[in-house]
């Protein structure tokens, strides 16, 4: 049985090990830049539509900080009253509410994915990104398989089970070589997984070079995209929001309440 260490030509190291890593790093950065270049600019909303969204946002912010609100009661109450009245009267709606024969408002029917241009663009953007991610991987895998096949590249410092032998040593038909001696394709896989962290550090947190193989991200991303494509029924949202505002008013508490007493107590001027 061969001694525990095979002798490998240093030229393999120079011409295979380093180039594969370098190429993968550079291709990752290239992918990130390409995705940024082909990203379509976000669709501009009309002034009325923006006002709708922002009004809803204002109400939500008011509500979420109600428990330790930084604004005094007079301002909080006046904001709440104004928003509630505006929501009920439909002042912020960008399209007037259509009433059917009984006088009840008709909800806008959600347009299907293919006819709504905004949703189409969202889908196209997602597919373009997928293509940009997948194609370089395929090309590099093909390049490695073609040029760097049939020889042992490196020894892994940790042991693996025999099941990995066929994957890690593809192209090298030796039945009893230690699984730790692996081929170039497995070096490609090691790089693929290991460089994600490097991309996140080099390119910032939401870069496009990271490959997202998480189970969580793909079904969620697929489900979220069609949901956003449908036009929201702002009338319903506004009525719900006005009720929530009333509820929030019940739990409202100003952080500055009794602040004079608190300061005096802290500095010991008042008995606790």
């Amino acid at each position: 049985m061969a001694g525990d260490s095979l002798y490998l030509d240093p030229q393999i190291r120079d011409w295979v090990l380093f180039p594969i890593t370098l190429v993968m790093i550079l291709v990752g950065v290239l992918r990130h830049n390409i995705v940024q270049l082909i990203a379509s600019s976000p669709k501009k909303l009309s002034r009325a539509a923006t006002r709708e969204q922002r009004a809803l946002l204002r109400a939500q912010i008011l509500r979420s900080t109600a428990k330790s609100s930084p604004i005094p009661p007079s301002y909080y109450d006046s904001h709440t009253d104004e928003l509630t009245a505006a929501f009920k009267a439909g002042n912020y709606l960008s399209k007037p509410v259509e009433l059917d024969q009984d006088g009840k408002p008709i909800a806008p029917n959600p347009t299907s994915m293919l006819t709504d241009p905004a949703a189409m663009e969202g889908m196209m953007g997602g597919m373009k990104n997928q293509a940009v991610m997948m194609i370089p991987q395929m090309i590099i895998m093909g390049w490695i398989n073609f040029f760097f096949q049939g020889f042992v590249l490196i020894k892994l410092p940790f042991p693996l089970t025999l099941g990995f032998k066929s994957m890690m040593q593809r192209g090298i038909e030796t039945p009893d070589m230690d699984v730790r001696w692996v081929s170039s394709l497995s070096w490609f896989f090691l790089n693929w997984f290991g460089l994600n962290g490097l991309y996140r550090v080099l390119l910032g947190n939401d870069n496009s070079a990271v490959n997202q193989q998480d189970l969580a991200s793909s079904p969620f991303a697929g489900a979220a995209a069609p949901a956003m494509g449908q036009p929201q029924d702002y009338n319903k949202l506004f009525t719900a929001e006005s009720e929530n505002l009333q509820l929030a008013q019940g739990v409202y508490h100003w952080v500055g309440e009794d602040i004079d007493t608190r300061i005096l107590r802290r500095y010991g001027k008042l008995a606790a």
Partner: protein, 115 residues
Amino acid sequence: MDDQTASLIYAPHLQSNLSTIFTIKFLTAVFSGATAGVLGLTNLAGFLLFAVSTLVSAALVVFLKCGGKPSLYIGDGKTLSTRGAVMQLLLPGVDNFFGFILTWTLLYGIIHVYD
């Protein structure tokens, strides 16, 4: 009380703290991988070095930078909990683990396998 603290947490600060922590974890992983490779550690010894270096860097962050109160600096944005913050510091993500493996294999190969 939880809602109160949740609304007092300033999200952009939390975000930048978390990405600094990620960078620290990544650099720890990469350099401990390089060290393991250079020293020729194999199998369990290498993974042990990774665990020890993660612990040491987490301890340094807590005591030197957070003044012993990591919950004030990092967390999940909803509550202030020491346990949550420490768990976030200690658990290296999958990315960092593979980064460790990558540099470990690379340096080990360069120095101990090739002549």
